[in-house]
Amino acid sequence: MRRWYLLLALPFLGLLYPPLYSAEDPELFGFPFFYWYQFAWVPLTAGLTYLVYRKTRPAERAPAQGSGRFSRT
């Protein structure tokens, strides 16, 4: 179960080394790479955090949340 937390390291790796994304090209919708790359990490990080949240939640809580989809790893 605890291994899921490692996923949360990804945004740190992706964002804390600016040479990785300090570039103008390729552009997307007029946005230089530097900007859209960082914007892309917003939904990505939210998704990863949600995944970790679901995967590390204990089984007992699930019924109270409506949707029954959860897993206990």
Partner: protein
């Protein structure tokens, strides 16, 4: 800071109507999720019963302050990419908090802690260390409240309103409903604020680029203009200095944010650990908004606006682009946006003073009712203080102090956050590390005119001063811990038990009294 914007009657009318609406809401909030407001838990934490939705609005409205919405685009307008670190900062803060904050929520809920200093006192049985944490929180919060006023000032300026009296009225209203309703007031007002802010930003990022010839045109005119600034900016950070500064500012700010009392207050007011955890995947919606807002700085460049000071970039852009009625909505969004954090900050400061100064040193056996009464009065004093600060001292003073605030708050990380995982550090070591970190960080920042980054010796790259000070802090704390060994550790006085921190321990128990109302 006067730009001489024209007086706009329609905009002022819309603005005033919205302001009136939140004033009414602020007072009505006292009856919402009714509780005994004579208890600090109720007045200062809303009874710890806010669910996912309310917590999302409250935390979003609390962390993404009006000043942020003015200052981040202003920085982007002035220096370009360097100001955009706010985006990685507010991306990284949530996974970080996802790991740490549920533990603090859990232990605080178990022991009825209201402040970080309460926790430190329980964990280390050290009044000195707890006082240090409380002092830091108060010190960093005061200028932050003042800056919210500065945010309102810039908006009022944009409406063509000069002079101090409107600011005094706005703050008097704020003070009155915070006094009567406590944390319920900002929680309820946050619903309005957040809706308005979202509407404003969405309209701005669709409508304004269409008038300026699209994003392509906006970025290319920024790219042409930025290198011509007195201190040349850039669209893309280049060179090791700019990039290390960018990354360390993002990381250090993310680490410091939830040490601030107002952030902690909003976290502790939530109903369960599960609410806190779930919110960390929902709050990035705010991050996205802030990123878009930052780009308003480039739009102001593309629109060819000349402002005497960067903080007028957003007001000037709105005045230039929006019809009067929407200008009223947009400015109300920002001004109301100042009220939510200002209220939460003053409540957080009041909680700190009451719990960790008044009850600790002045009246150890004060009753619950007295405790809550003192907090209410302190919340007033704090706001008057901020008002005096803004009216009588130069704005730059508040801005400099707020920059220092980040440096200061980060120095409490070992005593508050590392303590959630290990009690390895000696309490005197933590106190010594804190003191050295505070003095060192303040000295570095003050000696170079409050530039937030510092050129590291030996490595010769510039990095965020707060992180450098934290490194010094940790080294001192570790050395003192090793030197003192077992003497004076008082491990047996730790009132928290390992089980209390454990993941999701608390959520399995039924939540405390949930009355009818929004979950």
């Amino acid at each position: 800071m006067t730009e001489g914007f024209p007086v706009d009657g329609v905009a002022i009318a819309v603005f005033s109507a919205l302001f009136l609406l939140v004033t009414v809401l602020g007072f009505v909030a006292a009856r919402w999720k009714r509780g005994d407001l004579g208890l600090l838990d109720e007045w200062g934490l809303g009874g710890r019963r806010f669910g996912t939705v309310i917590t999302w609005f409250l935390l979003g409205g609390d962390l993404f302050t009006a000043y942020t919405f003015i200052a981040v685009p202003a920085l982007v307008w002035a220096v370009g990419a360097g100001g955009f670190f706010a985006l990685p900062y507010t991306i990284l803060v949530f996974p970080l908090v996802f790991l740490v904050m549920p533990r603090l929520w859990s232990v605080a809920s178990k022991h009825r802690y209201v402040t970080a200093a309460d926790y430190v006192k329980g964990r280390y049985a050290s009044r000195g260390l707890a006082s240090a944490v409380a002092f830091t929180g108060l010190l960093a919060t005061m200028p932050y409240i003042a800056l919210q006023l500065v945010g309102i000032q810039f908006v009022l300026g944009g409406l063509g309103i000069e002079g101090e009296w409107p600011l005094v009225i706005a703050f008097a209203i704020l003070a009155a409903y915070t006094y009567t309703s406590g944390l319920r007031a900002p929680a309820m007002i946050a619903l309005v604020k957040d809706t308005l802010i979202y509407a404003t930003v969405l309209v701005a990022i669709i409508y304004i680029p269409s008038k300026l010839g699209g994003w392509d045109a906006i970025f290319s005119s920024a790219s042409e203009e930025l290198p011509n600034r007195d201190e040349p900016g850039a669209l893309i950070p280049s060179g090791a200095d700019a990039q290390v500064a960018y990354a360390t500012l993002a990381l250090g700010s993310a680490m410091a944010l939830f040490l601030y009392p107002h952030a902690l207050t909003a976290v502790l007011s939530s109903r369960s650990q599960d609410v806190v955890r779930r919110n960390m995947s929902l709050l990035p919606a705010w991050t996205f908004l802030l990123g878009l807002m930052a780009l308003l700085g480039y739009m102001a460049i593309a629109a060819g606006l000349n402002v005497s000071e960067p903080n007028n970039a957003v007001p000037a852009l709105f005045v230039d682009m929006f019809p009067s009625w929407f200008l009223g909505v947009a400015f109300a969004a920002i001004a109301i946006g100042a009220l939510v954090p200002a209220a939460v900050m003053s409540i957080a400061a009041a909680n700190l003073f009451t719990r960790n100064v008044w009850k600790e040193f002045v009246r150890p056996d004060c009753s619950d009712a007295e405790e809550s009464q003192v907090a209410k009065i302190v919340s007033l004093v704090v706001k008057v203080g901020a008002l005096v600060f803004v009216i009588f001292l130069p704005t730059q003073f508040a801005i400099d102090l707020q920059l220092l605030g980040g440096v200061w708050m980060l120095q409490t990380l070992p005593a508050v956050m590392i303590a959630l995982y290990t009690r390895w550090f000696h309490r005197w070591g933590l106190l010594a590390g804190w003191a050295v970190g505070m003095v060192f960080g303040t000295w570095v920042a003050a000696s170079q005119d409050f530039v937030p980054v510092w050129e590291l010796p030996v490595l010769s790259v510039t990095a965020y001063t707060a992180l450098a000070a934290l490194a010094v802090n940790l080294v001192v704390a570790a050395v003192v811990t090793v030197v003192l060994g077992a003497r004076g550790r008082a491990d047996e006085l730790d009132e928290t038990r390992p089980r209390v921190y454990e993941e999701l321990e608390e959520t399995r128990e039924p939540a405390p009294v949930v009355e009818a109302g929004v979950r």
